[in-house]
Subunit: 320 residues, 2 copies
Amino acid sequence: MGLDLIILGAASATPTSNQYTTAQLLKMREHYFLIDCGEGTQKQLRRSKTKFSRINHIFISHLHGDHFFGLVGLLSTFHLLGRTSPLTIYGPPKLKDIVLTQFRAAGTFTSYPMHFVVTQHKVPQVLLETDSYTISSFPLKHRIATTGFLFKEKTLKRSLNKAAADAHGVPVCDYHWIKEGKNWTSDEGKEVSNDLLTFDPLPPLSYAFASDTMYTPDTAEYVKGVDLLYHESTFCEDKNERAKQTMHSTAAQAAQVAVEAGAKHLLIGHYSARYTDKRQFEEEAKAIFAEVFAARELCQYSLLQSGIKVKSVVPDKDEK
Amino acid sequence: MGLDLIILGAASATPTSNQYTTAQLLKMREHYFLIDCGEGTQKQLRRSKTKFSRINHIFISHLHGDHFFGLVGLLSTFHLLGRTSPLTIYGPPKLKDIVLTQFRAAGTFTSYPMHFVVTQHKVPQVLLETDSYTISSFPLKHRIATTGFLFKEKTLKRSLNKAAADAHGVPVCDYHWIKEGKNWTSDEGKEVSNDLLTFDPLPPLSYAFASDTMYTPDTAEYVKGVDLLYHESTFCEDKNERAKQTMHSTAAQAAQVAVEAGAKHLLIGHYSARYTDKRQFEEEAKAIFAEVFAARELCQYSLLQSGIKVKSVVPDKDEK
């Protein structure tokens, strides 16, 4: 059990012949969430062998093209594949109009219901809450209205320690009370405390996505104590001024946010095409925050309570 | 001298992990014309090593996503590359609104002037005419308003036969009259006919793009005598009924149009993803029209007066 994050695109501004712009697939508690959708995201989803029908929620951070130009193509492909289950899209107010204008021009209406949830860019906002997780947005500081997204698992119920239950002579018909957290009383009136009959649930995990944004101490406040923080790092320190002008961050600033937030791990990405070697980002961030990974496309970052595991999601010789 | 056509995408409906939807780059008389622009076209242009700044005219056949979902991304990249020269986009009425809505949402205005020319889908229309070529649109028969495009070179001026001019004693200062088609008269009053002093220009070439469309005899009328006809062939004969329902063509129907038009060569494409082997299309078309090629992505089809040469535009080991 853990969170799996597949990086579909980690380049900024424009795709190049072998790099894609921002898109990520988060798998949390058996649910799939697509975060941003740069041009060609559907190609990367296919390469990562993702089942399209498992995606029911798409989150768009802002309306710069490198974060959503692949959306209408993906929605159109869902339609052509005959999807029928509802899809919810979370994003800035104008997103709905952009999508519907294109479907209308094609004279097409999707085979599935499409719901739009408008994100607020000035205050944090709970977007989706279930028994199992909460997903919210929070303001970022960029040239246009932009939000980050915070994905938080909820604590699961305690799970039965079957060996202990047997040892205390608990009959199977009482298991469901124990799983609800109740103590158990035997026919003889002996009470056994619930914590002797159950295991602690695994601590819940959390993931925060913050792109695009310049450094602001507010970000750390919004994602306090997060297990994994993805923070854009468009530039290295040599382009500190350029980062400021364009309202982007450097790798060092991303690391600074991770420190201030008390994050456990940091993933950086949204690289400017002027850097060919991504290690420079990693090194500059590492000088400030040790637990850093430089995002690589078509790699999966599996967040566990014990740490992070990284693996490629495509066979070595596959096209990227 | 000839027309070069690079196939950037030849798949229909949706891109797959290694195939792109419709886009073609035509090079005619030193000018570059982009025809349709499916998602990921900018990636394919990069792979074909095309200089983006040489594209000044983009033609969009219709507003089904597989023919234009890559357009706004490409326009955005032009902007990010600092383009300043004007760009003209030819397409259906709603295209302008679709493009501008997205730029407005990003708070961006392009660094270059963008002109939109609205195509008519009920009558043929000259879109662009210079001394060197004429480009026009013509109606196709599809589920929404769709046009084909016809690119016709004009006959060049006769070129000087320098050896003949020397033999007749023509002084250099009279060359320009001869190139204009005038006869030449010597100081002694001897007249030499222009055709003895000049070479015939190469016959002008023409290319027609017809996608998407069902079979209609009108298409042949619009492209009569064309040197190279690209005609969609979404299906093979086994899906003849499906072709009719969706208003697409089979390979045999594409070949039939080539016969009726008296085309010299036929290129077929816009393949349905249900066919893995493209040779089936080629074989079915060849039974009706011999000079057929099944379009392959990232291949260049060079149309010369003597025939067609095909070559890949990417090194063998490059990603596709």
